[in-house]
């Protein structure tokens, strides 16, 4: 309730000072990420490219979970649709990369339309289970067609198929900047989206669905569009992951990849534009460092148990910081988007 009046008040106030500060913040982050490539050693900039792609996935998740208030447990399906749409197109119908990218994006959109129409008939816990089940069916389908997808083992995408507009994306520099461009586009897009009328309506639905309906908004249509945008961004991340890192495998369709974006968003702060990035960076390095430490001092089995860290963080977050980092920050400075 208080958040609703807050955001409503924000909508009526002249947005100029708030808006310009917010634009400054977003542009600043992108410039910072641009400069970081030159400042960081190769190992970390390689990680950062991966983080940026996963952050796009998290931003897609955030549109649905953070802004619309729909908790999906099946976003791996959208990520994998993009990944396999791109990967299989390039592997078996022998198209140029740009066409395969479009096929990947389209398949993510189509899947999210279908899942959206069906899953949005349910609410709350049932919505979570339905999305979980659809994602599980998707994962099993990848395994079922193991002849083409090569199941858990996955397949590599050939270097010659990873050239876009003359840039070889298997090169570290090209890869980083391609990831950054995608990140920047999606980052500004979500920032613009949540400030638009449409974004405000999504927040209104999240805060009080009944009231939003009484005010005459078409709830189902807004939710469906949110699912499609969320699915498209997640699919874009899936396409980018296959394109930049040259690999598609069934593990990306498995349930961990539905849990991870939830974790990133919760950790960073749901319903904030910078939250997904913060959460992804933290979680990525937390897992990376802990598995490094574990493999250095303990057995290799400890290193493979990285989801243990994810589990502990999830429990601690629900117990102590349901708002995430950006949520804590926002309680200090109210203008954060």
């Amino acid at each position: 309730m208080s958040q609703l009046t807050e955001s409503a008040a924000g909508f009526q106030k002249p947005l100029l000072s708030q808006g310009s500060r917010s634009i400054l913040l977003h542009v600043g982050i992108v410039i910072l990420l641009f400069l970081l490539y030159f400042a960081l050693p190769v190992y970390h900039s390689g990680n950062l490219a991966r983080i940026l792609v996963l952050a796009v996935f998290a931003m897609g998740y955030n549109v649905l979970f953070g802004y619309t208030g729909l908790l999906s447990l099946g976003h791996a399906l959208f990520f994998a649709s993009g990944m396999y749409g791109f990967g299989l197109a390039i592997q078996f119908i022998d198209v140029v990369p740009i066409v395969a990218i479009i096929i990947g994006l389209l398949s993510a959109v189509v899947v999210s339309v279908v899942v959206g129409i069906l899953a949005l008939r349910t609410t709350g816990v049932a919505f979570m289970i339905v999305t979980l089940m659809f994602a599980q069916a998707g994962y099993l389908t990848v395994l079922l067609f193991g002849e083409y997808t090569r199941g858990d083992e996955g397949f590599n995408i050939h270097r010659s198929d990873r050239v876009l507009f003359g840039f070889d994306l298997s090169q570290a520099t090209n890869r980083y900047f391609c990831a950054l461009i995608l990140f920047a586009i999606c980052f500004f897009l979500t920032a613009w989206l949540v400030h638009s009328r449409f974004g405000k309506t999504l927040v209104a639905i999240r805060e009080n669905e009944e009231r939003a309906r009484m005010l005459g908004y078409d709830i189902q249509r807004h939710k469906l569009i949110a699912v499609i945008i969320s699915g498209a961004l997640s699919g874009a991340a899936g396409v980018a992951y296959a394109l930049l890192f040259g690999y598609a495998g069934a593990s990306f369709a498995a349930v961990q990849y539905s849990i991870l974006p939830l974790l990133y968003v919760l950790l960073g702060g749901a319903g904030t534009t910078i939250g997904p990035l913060i959460g992804t960076v933290f979680m990525f390095y937390l897992i990376d460092l802990s598995s490094d430490l574990a493999s250095a001092y303990l057995s290799s089995e400890f290193a493979s148990a990285y989801m243990l860290i994810a589990g502990i963080v999830l429990i601690l977050l629900t117990l102590f910081a349901p708002q995430g980092f950006a949520g804590l920050l926002r309680s200090k400075c109210k203008w954060l988007p």
Binding site: L71, G124, M128, V130, Q136, A137, F302, A305, G311, T318
Partner: protein
């Protein structure tokens, strides 16, 4: 073997799946029915039951059956106790908020699963059954000389498999008796109907919740101890029972225990029969899609009553 006896063997295997599934799913169902908590970590409590059974039987020297009988009592108790702790220190602290409990139990799932991986290891380990005699089964056929009883080769089961089915039925009957005929069952049902009214009448709702969560986990663990001499203890073994229990609970109607048992028999039998004739992956895809569509089009389950 002819088709008839073949189907009979398949449905016997299905009956074992159904028996274990009924125990596991009823555990999930009472937790959801009384506490309105979707316990995603339920499959891990199941897995923990099997792993503890292996651990206990390997600790106890002497006759292998002795270890098993200790395990069948101790493993569910230990798992139940762990679940009570989880309820006290996690679920209770987030006030049983539906979305936060799901996130917390997902966390719990990974903590239990990965801790098992680190301590128990990635291997599958067998537990010896306390008794395991083969029984040949007869088959009736209409032949030239009227009905006759034959003993087809390969048509057989073991005493242990029959024991699993009988044990599951007994446990479910005891549970039904506790829920409908005892004071503690009355308290549970009162809490299910109206948590606030129950509290107002002096029922310690928090204690009931802890008990129910422990009981649900213990039922899953018991199912696992029963099945572990047939399958093997493995750190990832919790995911299939979790999925199947979800399917059963949803199709049976969320929170309806009788519906859950009926659905468990239905799903368990058909799972056993389908996986004899189709690939298991395809069977699983069909099952998951079935759940999704039941939830979409009949949110109260096939046997559930509307909650209004």
């Amino acid at each position: 073997m002819d088709f008839g006896p073949y189907l009979f063997v398949a449905s016997l295997e299905g009956a074992i799946t159904a028996a274990v599934l009924a125990l596991t799913a009823v555990g999930l169902s009472i937790v959801f029915g009384i506490m309105r908590v979707v316990n995603v970590a339920h499959g891990e409590f199941y897995m923990l039951g099997a792993v503890l059974a292996w651990w206990i039987t390997s600790m106890i020297a002497g006759h292998p059956a002795l270890g098993f009988w200790v395990a069948i009592v101790a493993a569910p108790l230990l798992v139940g106790a762990l679940a009570v702790l989880c309820d006290r220190f996690i679920l209770n602290k987030v006030n049983y908020d539906p979305e936060r409990t799901i996130v917390a139990t997902i966390g719990l799932l990974y903590v239990i699963q990965q801790t098992t991986l680190m301590t128990f290891g990635p291997e599958a380990r067998p537990v010896q059954a306390p008794f395991n005699e083969r029984i040949a089964l007869p088959w009736f056929e209409y032949g030239e000389s009227g009905f006759q009883m034959i003993w087809p080769w390969g048509l057989s089961t073991t005493t242990y498999k029959l024991f699993v089915i009988v044990a599951a039925i007994i446990v479910l009957l005891v549970l039904w008796w506790v829920m409908t005929r005892t004071r503690i069952g009355l308290i549970m049902r009162a809490t299910q109907l109206d948590q606030e009214m129950a509290q107002a009448h002096g029922i310690a709702v928090n204690k009931v919740y802890a008990l129910v969560f422990g009981l649900g986990a213990a039922l899953a663990a018991l199912g696992a101890v029963l099945v572990v001499p047939i399958q093997q203890a493995y750190y990832l073994m919790g995911s299939d029972p979790l999925l199947l229990s979800f399917i059963v609970v949803i199709i049976g109607g969320l929170g309806s225990v009788l519906g859950t048992v009926v659905a468990a028999v239905l799903i368990g039998m058909s799972d056993g029969i389908i996986s004899v004739f189709f690939t298991p992956t395809l069977a699983k895809i069909l099952a998951t899609l079935l759940v999704a569509f039941v939830l979409v089009f009949k949110p109260n389950g096939l046997f559930g009553k509307s909650r209004e």
